[in-house]
Amino acid sequence: MAYVNVSRDPERNLKNGYLATSLVGMGTTLVTFAKQVFGLEESNTVQWPEVEFQYSERFKGAHFLTKRPDGRVRCTACFLCATNCPAQCITIVAGESPDKGVEKYPVRFEIDILRCVFCGFCEEACPVDAIRMGPEYSMAGLAEQKWVYTKDYLLERDAVKRKVGEKQVSKKDENTKHDTVESSLPGIHTGHSEHGH
């Protein structure tokens, strides 16, 4: 049976060449610094906030709610995001939509952004592509700022509009019922549906 000696050697740092490797590292820093001073290499540092860093398009930052082509909220208040949320930061109050074809819609949709852990489970759970995580990453603010994002804010805020533009309107199929179906008996019609169950 072999065993490993894990007791600490007092002269370990010297034996490992700590001093020598430190000097090598310092040298690398100085060389890079000199290269950048004389314009031989471009700097990776961004002058934030004057210059904004561009993350990938798939970056998952602050949430926004998508819209139907007519501008209304896509969300049907199914509570799947709220159920799936590990931080329990989503509050939804559902109500009867004035539009009969939609039936259910969120009267209130709030995200407590301080509780959010940006895991993206809400986006994943959503069956109608109504909530997405956007490109917005700088969310710092003061204590008196409103940290609970309301439905209006999630739908309409400028920062997201500027960056997302047309992408805020979901291209998924409409989740409304066929408009030939009227709410009266015996008006039964056949309509389109491309999937089975």
Binding site: T76, A77, C78, F79, L80, T83, Q88, A94, G95, E96, K100, E103, K104, P127, V128, K177, H178, T180, V181, E182, S183, S184, L185, P186, G187, I188, H189, T190, G191, H192, S193, H195, G196, H197
Partner: protein
Amino acid sequence: MSNQVTLSINNQSITVPAGSTIMEAAQKLGVTVPHFCWHPGLSIAGVCRFCMVRVEGMPKLQIACNTPASEGMKVDTVSDEVKDAHKWALEFHLINHPLDCPICDQAGECELQNYYMKVGKYQSQMEDEKVLKPKALDVGDTLVLDTERCILCSRCVRFEDEVTKTSTLGIFNRGDQATIGTYKDRKIKHNYSYNLADICPVGAFTAKDFRFKCRVWFLKESKTVCPGCSTGCNVNLFQNSNQREYYRLKPRHNADVNGHWMCDTGRTMYEHLNASARLSSPLLNGESVSHQAALQAVTDAVKSISADKLAVVFTAQFTSEEYSATLKTLKATLKSAPKVFVWRDESEKIEDFDGILFRGDRNPNTRGMMDVLKEEGINPVMLKGDFSALASSGAELTLIFGPEIEVGYPNLQKALGRFIEMKKTVYFGNSLSEAAKRMWIRIPVKVFAEKNGTFVNFNGVAQKLKANAPVFPAVKSVDEYFAELGKIAQTAI
């Protein structure tokens, strides 16, 4: 021929009365046979063809709900052949089902959804378009009907025909065009309508009272007894425990009391449990005081008078334990029994009965209260519209135990108006009404869902209540108050 037959289900033998079906035998044995149209409280329809089982010696699979059990029968509910039958039956049920589970209130307690997860095919082979049918129909004051979600099990039609005998619903058209609906110019208008939402295995009938309010998987159920009338139906109370908010009641089967059903009046018995409908802290002359201060004031007032100057006004909405504790403490403190009055509403017709469950006595514990009073040797005076007995009693302190459920007391304001004419009034109850505000002291009490105790129903069946976590933690039940009152009164001596 004997009255019992013995059959075996999945090689387990079971003896049932002759004439029972395989489904009943399986239920008795604890074997689950998937089903939609069969309901223990209704007649057998055998229309959903979902409860397929293999019976040895029969050429094809049989439906468990409508096949009588016979001696020596060998039934199998778990083989691959049976599972395959369930899978395909479900495929046919889902042909025209819209699958709008995200906006359906039934999602989470939907039998179709549950069986789909258990035995579903997952990949549909249907290529035809779904038949679209009317959605969100208004079929009465309490229900919304979605004919697309309906799987035509006809439970609701049978309920209307057999239990309420109102026959409002029927199945119209044929084949894939068949829909459930109300007959022309008729609406579902009876006191048992929410049962339709309960028995509907899918989300075709949903309750307006619960519509879009909460997803069912957030709710936790607790077993309790409905306090709405003297029948004392066994119910499950649903609470979102994160929000401390009660959302609904559903009946719980008890063959001796309520069977499978409960009335719509009983379904509203969650409303007064929520914080917004309740008094949160004691009030002395309209000003909020601590529980300790209120208790001290009541104790001092009780101790400063003799028993004949104290009037106690009971309503039959408290538990037997509470009446008992109140009377025992007062007797011990005052050395003799106080005068006891029983307040009943003027409009109450105690003998009324609708033939199914709902009774005219809107108090859950009339019988229990009378038993306790008899045990304590007290003969109460009835206050029913006529309060002269109380007014002429010369009482200097009146302890009023107000009704928890005020809908059972339509003349509450008038009665409270008479009570505040008394000298000093202490009101135990959560009433937020105007007249109650003029009481000397108002003490909030626990509601039926938050206390342990007993309700005795009209028939003498004593049923236990089990306590949930209270909405206001500092609020006590009447027996807890009087236990403390007794302690304070004794230490002061």
